[in-house]
């Protein structure tokens, strides 16, 4: 079955800006890029539910808001539950003709990795199980960035954070990154995908697909964080691109049971290119990097087998 492509070139992308500048996101925060592009896909008939986090705090400090669509923030761990309530309300109010029933309203829950993979996991799982027609966007900057870079479940192995500092005895995070999107996929919802802002057409096509499925959808986007990952803000997109080029971040989708890797990487880069430009990995030894490379190689094999062909190639440089 061929997959629908909504945006083929940059010129297909809607011009209307539904995210206003003047927000307090760090200079070079890729979350701004991701949200901006998401809203372009979603359009004005969208209600956004946002969990507490970098995006929420930076874009809605009274009396200023950067949102040009209806927006609600309730708490840290319940974006999915609030979105469920909104979805049910719209359903019944349209049925009772209190709201215009002909209007299709997108409901998007936006949460960071803290709000989604950790404290908000229960609410997310409940929403997925109940089958609400809600799109969930997880912008993953791999730590609790808003409160000052503490580790989260999605912080990668060995990464420095303030709660997994590099000391004499322990050096960075001890556990692996929690495979959130795989757990979401196990809920068998109509559409799950991972995306990368450096591959924005792929990402925006996935946003569009998410909004078109009849049921819950989940997009997990990598969001390099200049402040928390420790790199010069200007290379934000470059870091994101390297994540996919080294297969640290594989862009896949599970569309009604069909699994695809949507960004193929015929010639892979050695993971050292990704690791060495981020300050949070400064303490990694060459042995650490080789161990990481071996782990990635295993993952790549597994994915290639799942797809049935070599979508991610060998390390070339």
């Amino acid at each position: 079955m061929s997959r629908p492509i909504y945006y083929r070139t940059v010129f297909d992308i809607p011009k209307e800006e539904l995210l206003a500048p003047g927000h307090g996101l760090c200079g070079g925060c890729i979350a701004g890029t991701i949200i901006k592009l998401l809203l372009k896909v979603a359009g004005p008939n969208t209600i956004v539910v946002n969990a507490t986090g970098c995006v929420e705090v930076s874009t809605t400090t009274f009396p200023y808001t950067s949102w040009r669509v209806p927006y609600i923030h309730v708490a840290f761990e319940n974006a999915a539950a609030v979105a469920s309530g909104i979805e049910a309300a719209i359903k019944i109010l349209q049925k009772k003709n209190i709201i215009d029933p002909s209007r299709k309203i997108n409901i998007i829950a936006i949460g960071g990795d803290g709000a989604t993979a950790d404290i908000g996991f229960q609410a997310l799982s409940g929403m997925l199980e109940r089958g609400h027609r809600v799109m969930y966007l997880l912008y993953d900057n791999e730590a609790y960035m808003n409160t000052g870079i503490q580790r989260s479940g999605t912080t990668p192995l060995l990464a420095w954070t303030t709660t997994t500092p590099v000391g004499k005895v322990l050096k960075g995070k001890v556990q692996m990154k929690k495979p959130v999107s795989e757990i979401v996929a196990a809920h068998r919802i109509p559409y799950v995908a991972t995306a990368n802002p450096a591959y924005f057409l792929d990402m925006m096509n996935k946003f569009k697909r998410s909004l078109n499925v009849d049921g819950p959808s989940f997009i997990h986007v990598i969001q390099p964080c200049t402040t928390g990952w420790r790199f010069d803000p200007r290379i934000g997109i470059k870091v994101a691109r390297l994540a996919t080029e080294t297969a640290m971040w594989i862009n896949w989708e599970l569309d009604n049971g069909e699994f695809r890797v949507t960004v193929t990487v015929p010639k892979r880069k050695h993971v050292k290119h990704y690791i060495r430009i981020q300050g949070r990995f400064n303490h990694l030894t060459d042995d650490d990097i080789e161990a990481l490379q071996k782990y990635i190689d295993k993952e790549v094999d597994r994915v290639n087998k799942l797809v049935g062909k070599e979508v991610i190639g060998p390390v070339v440089e």
Partner: protein, 107 residues
Amino acid sequence: MSSKRLLGWKSLPLGGSIVEPGNSSQRPTGDWRVFKPVINQEKCIRCLLCWIYCPEPSIHIIDRPYKTSTGREWKFSVEVDYNFCKGCGICVEECPVKAIDFIEEVK
């Protein structure tokens, strides 16, 4: 904060709601900058990548035709909104033809 007198409970919307959409555009962030991106209209190929990646967004597609010195005609141009540009440099880095200069702003 400006010296404008802050509203009292009688005039504020209930519950901390903000009723003017997108009014953060009244709060310029241009003074965050140290370096300033300057788009060289001659070199710019209007690929729109800078417009895509800008996180604010503070890069706009404007309805201004431009004719380069080599005779190439563009129907529109791309410009930085310096009221909001935080000087992150992503546009400078991502421009495929290196048409954006990153200049230290001397105040």
